[in-house]
């Protein structure tokens, strides 16, 4: 039997539980009462509100701004994208209609399955996408057969198109589908099929190119069918972007690079405007518009020649002898040498237990600065660098734009690397050794530069020491708005003009002196003389054994182990206007491979003189497209 305590326990519990149950009953009644109030008493009012709930706001996609080159040649435009849609309520027999349509345009069985599934899922009046990216002929064929295709409609959307294809791929960039990381709250990004710039100028200027969404207030009936448009606010078309690139030159540069891996940059030495920025191998950005298949992406991204990388700004190469001007200026500015200082080149220099060779086996003999640069004597620069020291070389290199991200309008640039003592301590944890200074002096060892940096360096040398920065777009985007690039003159770097002149004259001798390393690449046309510097940077170490038995020729080596061929230059000699840099990966010797390419592109540039010509009609306001012939 129960004891007293348990009885008490039970009595308390049951009394209080009963109250609790009563409380629940009250609350349940409250719910029902509230529902009665909402649904029965106020039901009519809410039904009216539900009717009014029928105004739908729909976003209108603005058309994306176009991109033109400096003469108004279209680089990125919008093309009609024809879509076939089907409305199931207007077609008595969907299967039959689709079969009929299948005779006019190819329809896979997967397409059919998807369409039928969509049809069964969506409301009868909702148009369902059958196929997109139709050719105009297909559209015409469908239009002609319209009577046999009830419920089929054709709509045109817009599709990004790059008329130049591969030629301007890297700097232009491409567009692609919005991924979650792009979402910023802009409602445009939520629209199906909306594309954003994923690379290049398309990415940097995305906000200006994008434009503003319009909106359309639609009245829909209680079933969601559109009755009429109540109000329409047109969106704002995206702004056009004008690049400084000259498409014709760009195409020529791409042609010069055909079959090679490397890049060409041509800059206006006075402004920094980019005339050419070519990177090879390239890739057709139109393929990105509709999305790449996984396989295509894999092929592209795993190619050892890296077609996706913009090598002009993201390829980091040892500059080789093209770095020697920096060492020379560092020594001149430090007062260590002058015009007449000479060193004796015996073909090598011994430092500690290391032996550092000149490229010329038996040496250059007595060598001055002019000879050192024009014949690219390595020993001369070993001697210079020992006296100047790596830190002063590094400071001079930084002043010329090396070893840093240059303020360019496209993402993805690499900084390169200009080493100094502190850097080595921090990055590698070891003390700097003298031999490394010698290697740096001939642009080997730790030193890495990009073709754009090299072109910038030459431009700053050739323009009399003005710190120009390169750019590719005429305008800049600041605080999400497109504004004109401030037109202030580049600041003076404060170098002694005599020193600059000496270096520039030496560079002229590289090409125009018969002993110069690029004599064979000289331009014979009067008034088109070019100055420059060759560079051949090793990607492998040459052993003493190989030296003794004769250094292997590049042709004897596998591609990946061949030297990089480099050339930097400016023209015309009389008053320099253009700077060029050419890097051919594993191309071989700078004088043999890179210099002729640079000469050809420079001749073309001088002939066209894009910087001297007035730009074409102002296309930013009225996008009239005139094709270059």
């Amino acid at each position: 039997m129960l004891n007293r305590g348990e009885e008490d326990q039970y009595r308390v519990f049951s009394r209080r539980a009963a109250i609790l149950v009563g409380g629940k009953a009250v609350l349940f009644s409250t719910l029902i009462g509230r529902m009665y109030y909402l649904q029965v008493i106020e039901g009519d009012r809410y039904q009216l509100m539900a009717e009014e709930n029928r105004i739908n706001l729909r976003l209108l996609t603005p058309s994306r701004g176009q991109i033109f080159d400096r003469f108004g040649v279209p680089l990125a435009v919008n093309q009609q994208n024809y879509q076939v849609l089907i409305k199931s309520e207007n077609t008595p027999d969907i299967e039959k209609t689709l079969t009929h349509l299948g005779r006019l345009i190819p329809l896979s069985s997967d397409d059919r399955k998807r369409i039928l599934k969509d049809v069964s899922r969506k409301k009868k009046f909702v148009p369902i996408l059958v196929r997109e990216h139709l050719e105009w002929e297909d559209v015409a064929r469908i239009e002609v057969n319209a009577p046999d295709l009830p419920g089929i409609t054709i709509e045109s959307g817009s599709l990004r198109f790059y008329p130049q294809g591969k030629a301007a791929f890297h700097a232009l960039g491409y567009v692609g589908a919005v991924s979650p990381k792009h979402k910023t709250g802009d409602r445009l990004l939520e629209l199906p099929g909306f594309k954003v710039g994923l690379s290049g100028v398309e990415k940097t200027f995305d906000l200006a190119l994008r434009g503003q969404a319009g909106s359309s207030q639609l009245e829909v009936n209680a079933l969601g069918r559109v009755i009429r448009e109540l109000d329409r606010k047109e969106g704002k078309t995206g702004q056009n972007i004008i690049l400084t690139i000259d498409t014709s030159l760009q195409i020529l540069a791409m042609k010069a690079l055909e079959g090679k891996t490397g890049s060409i940059v041509v800059l206006d030495v006075h402004t920094g405007a980019t005339m050419v920025q070519a990177s090879s191998p390239s890739f057709d950005p139109n393929n990105f518009t509709n999305g790449l298949s996984e396989n295509e992406w894999k092929v592209l991204s795993e190619d050892e020649r890296a077609p996706l990388r913009n090598k002009a700004i993201a390829g980091e190469y040892a500059p080789g002898s093209t770095f020697k001007m920096i060492v020379a200026l560092a020594a001149l500015e430090a007062g260590i040498i002058n015009k007449n200082t000479t060193f004796f080149c015996s073909g090598s220099l011994t430092l500690g237990d290391g032996k550092f060779h000149c490229w010329k086996r038996y040496g250059h003999g007595l060598t001055s600065l002019r000879k050192g640069i024009s014949q690219s004597c390595d020993v001369y620069f070993y001697e210079l660098s020992r006296r100047v020291g790596i830190d002063r070389i590094a400071i001079m290199a930084k002043r010329f734009g090396l070893g840093q991200h240059l303020d360019l309008d496209i993402p993805g640039s690499r900084p390169g690397l200009i080493p100094n003592k502190a850097w080595k301590k921090a990055a590698i944890g070891k003390k700097w050794v003298g031999g490394e200074t010698l290697l740096a002096a001939i642009g080997q060892g730790f030193v890495l530069t990009t073709p754009l940096q090299l072109a910038t360096m030459v431009a700053r040398l050739a323009n009399g020491g003005k710190a120009i920065t390169p750019f590719v777009a005429r305008d800049i985007i600041s605080r999400n708005k497109l504004t004109s690039r401030a037109d202030f003159p580049a600041s003076d770097m404060g170098l002694n003009p005599k020193h600059l002149k000496l270096v520039v004259k030496s560079m002229e001798a590289v090409i125009n002196n018969q002993w110069g390393t690029a004599y064979r690449a000289r331009i014979m046309v009067p008034g088109m003389g070019m100055g420059g510097k060759t560079g051949t940077s090793q990607v492998r170490r040459i052993t003493q054994a190989e030296r003794d038995s004769g250094i292997l020729k590049n042709e004897q080596l596998p591609w990946k182990r061949r030297d990089h061929a480099l050339f930097v230059g400016f023209a015309p000699i009389e008053s320099p206007r253009y700077a060029v840099s050419v890097v051919i990966e594993h191309g071989g010797g700078g004088s043999k491979i890179a210099a002729p390419i640079a000469r050809d592109i420079m001749v073309d540039t001088l002939n066209r003189d894009p910087a001297g010509q007035a730009p074409g009609a102002d296309v930013s306001e009225s996008p009239t497209i005139h094709k270059e012939v």
Binding site: A17, R34, Y46, A50
Partner: protein, 383 residues
């Protein structure tokens, strides 16, 4: 007066136990879940994917778990109470550190089909632990302050953790369940009053600790028209959808407000609104009736239990279930703030389904073992 005259044997086989299960409760659960599946089917515009099919799968798993729990002896659950509480508490503390962020609040441990939400488990094991504690007390001792220290700690500690997450709704529910258990166990009336007053006094202090979005929810609850496109939007749309359903509703799959997507989260928190829109006042009341019946059967079990542990456990779990559905329904009708509580057995989602079914498993275990006498120490004495 108690009618504890028949004592069932504890030596029943599991098969026998399964046959003796309270079939009314099972029937109600299946009916309500069935309503849920059809609403999810409707919410997906007449498609089993993405919600209904997964929900059925979860329900199947949950039912098996429920039956397994129900045939396990109630004395086992009594013995495990404190341990389960301890484990859940550690889990709850873990999500503080590890939990993935969902809707700005750390609550989840992701287990693919189900997301383990320790605060939900906590609701059940807190009832178990409190029932276990009061089972070992004389009714006269319950009112003494020194015996109240442990149960109050058992209640406050998890609430503090849940508030850190921060999950206002769950913290409130935990507090309410705890209070109900104290009340059922027999604390004095004046103690109840002190508790209520101190809770009310804590509100302005607690307000300071609320996140901005939580303050916003409470403020827009008070006046939803203030912000018709912001946080008040849900409540307004819910009321319009429900109200426009009228007496008989618009018919299955014909709810315009829900299907034209004026109604937010129609597959989870606002599923009752969709039901009320499509089936009207009649349909909504019928569902409330089903819930009421289910609760009534559980209350019968609670009254018929011989041990204080089983009584408190089953009543506490019923209260938990009731709070779920009341808060959800009151929320969609605009009676309480939008706190994000699902409608049990109906809303799409794994955790709520699982915890509710685990709760019913325990209630049915109480029912199957109602005649078992357990002494204060927890040892049984079967007569």
């Amino acid at each position: 007066m108690p009618r504890i005259t028949k004592f069932s044997s504890s030596d029943k086989t599991y098969i026998e136990k399964l046959c003796q299960l309270n079939w009314q409760i099972l029937l109600m659960i299946f009916l309500i879940a069935g309503v849920g599946f059809s609403m999810l089917y409707s919410a997906a515009n007449g498609d089993l994917s993405p919600w209904a099919s997964r929900q059925m799968l979860r329900f199947g798993i949950g039912i098996v778990l429920m039956l397994a729990i129900s045939i396990i002896d109630i004395r086992f659950w009594l013995k495990m109470s404190y341990m389960l509480y301890g484990i859940s508490f550690i889990l709850l503390a873990t999500v503080d550190v590890l939990g993935s962020v969902a809707m700005g609040a750390q609550r989840w441990l992701d287990l693919t089909l189900f997301q383990l939400q320790p605060s939900e488990i906590m609701k059940i094991v807190m009832v178990m632990a409190l029932a276990r504690y009061f089972h070992g007390l004389e009714v006269g001792d319950v009112g003494k302050l020194r015996y109240l220290v442990i149960p109050v700690l058992l209640i406050v500690a998890p609430i503090a953790l849940v508030l850190r997450q921060p999950d206002l709704g769950t913290a409130g529910v935990l507090g309410l369940i705890g209070a109900v258990l104290l009340w059922l166990a027999g604390i004095r009336i004046w103690q109840c009053l002190i508790f209520s007053f101190s809770s009310v006094a804590a509100i302005p202090i607690g307000w300071q600790f609320l996140h901005e979005y939580q303050k916003q929810r409470i403020l827009t609850f008070i006046n939803p028209e203030l912000d018709p496109l912001g946080s008040g939007y849900n409540i307004i749309q819910s009321k319009i959808a429900m109200g426009s359903g009228g007496l008989f509703g618009k018919g299955f799959m014909e709810g315009t407000q829900s299907h034209l997507n004026f109604l937010p989260e129609k597959q989870t928190d606002f599923i009752f609104t969709m039901l009320a829109e499509e089936f009207g006042f009649i349909g909504g009341t019928a569902l409330i009736g089903l819930y009421a019946l289910l609760i009534t059967y559980c209350v019968f079990i609670s009254f018929s239990c011989r041990s204080q542990f089983a009584r408190l456990l089953s009543m506490g779990l019923v209260v938990n279930f009731f709070l779920y559905l009341f808060i959800n329904m009151a929320m969609v009708m605009g009676l309480v703030p939008v706190v994000g509580v699902p409608l049990p057995l109906i809303s799409n989602g794994g955790t709520a389904m699982l915890t509710v079914l685990i709760g019913f498993g325990l209630v049915m275990s109480c029912g199957l073992h109602k005649g078992i006498y357990i002494n204060r120490r927890g040892a049984s004495l079967t007569r």
